[in-house]
């Protein structure tokens, strides 16, 4: 059993114990009153109410705990690098509903990034450089950089200002060419 699951179990046990305590105390008070006044209708109503509310609370708690356990399991798997599992059968209402959807969305984003990165790396490895966003821009800045370098007839310290500086955009372009853009890589593929 993982740490997160045992935390969830402890949490579940704590809530169940509190609910049981309330049910036992409420029922005991009602039963005690009924023994003294068996014909008192309000005490009967009170007893039914306590038992009914306890049952409702128990069912609600079970539902929440089930979702919490699923969140625990999915987080546990994700922490071990397993990004596939998701939380399904999420109830329409509840305190943990939004958290469960957000966890799913987070995993969706991470999994998509991983899958797309694998695709891009694989294709580059196979010699398919189509993932380059704008190769013509890269070529233009390469030319600019080399022209600046060749025209620069100064000593080495001065060469830095007159020739290396024009190459900074080129380096940026090269970096952009080899790394896919964030978000939708496909939207910028072939130019």
């Amino acid at each position: 059993m993982s740490d997160s699951s045992s935390t969830s179990s402890r949490f579940e046990l704590g809530h169940a114990a509190a609910l049981l305590l309330v049910a036992v105390l409420g029922s005991a008070m009602a039963v005690r009153g009924l023994l003294a006044h068996p014909k008192d209708l309000s005490l009967w109503v009170g007893l039914v109410l306590v038992l009914g509310l306890t049952l409702w609370g128990w069912l609600d708690l079970r539902k929440e705990q089930h979702l919490l356990s699923r969140i625990d399991e999915v987080l546990d798997a994700a922490s071990k690098g397993e990004l596939e599992p998701r939380i399904t059968q999420i109830p329409e209402q509840g305190r943990l509903v939004e958290a469960a959807w957000r966890l799913n969305e987070t995993l969706d984003q991470i999994e998509a990034v991983f899958r797309e990165s694998i695709t891009v790396v694989t294709r580059i490895g196979e010699g398919d450089l189509a993932a380059s966003p704008k190769p013509r821009v890269c070529m233009a800045s390469t030319r600019k950089c080399w022209c600046a370098w060749l025209r620069c007839n100064k000593t080495w310290p001065a060469r830095w200002t007159c020739s290396v500086r024009p190459c900074v955009p080129w380096l940026r372009e090269i970096f952009r060419c080899v790394s896919p853009p964030r978000g939708s890589r496909v939207s910028t593929w072939p130019s």
């Binding site: 998701r86 059968q89 496909v186």
Partner: protein, 176 residues
């Protein structure tokens, strides 16, 4: 609820820029997971789509050969891109730019499929819609048995004429 009972209506839902529809299926194409935006666009509840075939959201305007191509790719462990017109529960539709990849275990066995759908390039939609209309017409003319082969042959012929692969053609359209 069944796909056949949905009457298509001319009501388009357009994906927003950051929208990101995700769904997972098992090897037989039964939905095992779909995210909140899928629920929002399709109009189905989670209980309505879990365990159902993904063609639950297939629009009748979609030619069958596109899905045939898609299944061939992913069953071979390859990813595929496609423009897909999906139907909503109310009969409306929404276009998506779909990317489907197989999910594999450590040994490379395909366990299921993972699909991400993003907003398609609006400039590409008229071209794609025209192509799909053409393919659909060919399928209807060819009859149910030869439909897929006929439209597929036409699609391959078009690609050959342009000298591009299916993937390059689709990626170029998305980059218009």
């Amino acid at each position: 609820m069944a796909r056949q009972t949905i009457q298509p209506i001319d009501k388009e839902r357009v994906m927003r820029d950051g929208d990101f529809i995700v769904s997972k299926t098992d090897l037989k194409g039964r939905i095992t997971y779909a995210n909140k935006i899928f629920k929002e666009f399709s109009g189905f509840t989670e209980n309505e789509f879990l365990g159902k075939q993904h063609n639950l959201v297939r629009h009748p305007d979609m030619p069958r050969c596109v899905f045939k191509l898609l299944w061939e790719h992913i069953q071979n462990g390859q990813e595929i891109f496609a423009f897909v017109k999906n139907i909503c529960k109310d009969g409306g539709y929404y276009w998506v730019w779909a990317n489907v990849t197989p999910s594999m275990d450590a040994q490379g066995n395909v366990l299921g499929y993972y699909s991400v759908r993003r907003k398609p390039n609006p400039k590409a939609i008229p071209h794609v819609a025209a192509l799909y209309r053409q393919l659909l017409q060919i399928e209807q003319t060819a009859g149910s048995r030869d439909a897929i082969e006929a439209s597929r042959a036409h699609l391959l012929q078009l690609l050959n004429q342009q000298g591009v692969s299916y993937e390059r053609f689709i990626l170029d359209l998305q980059s218009l």
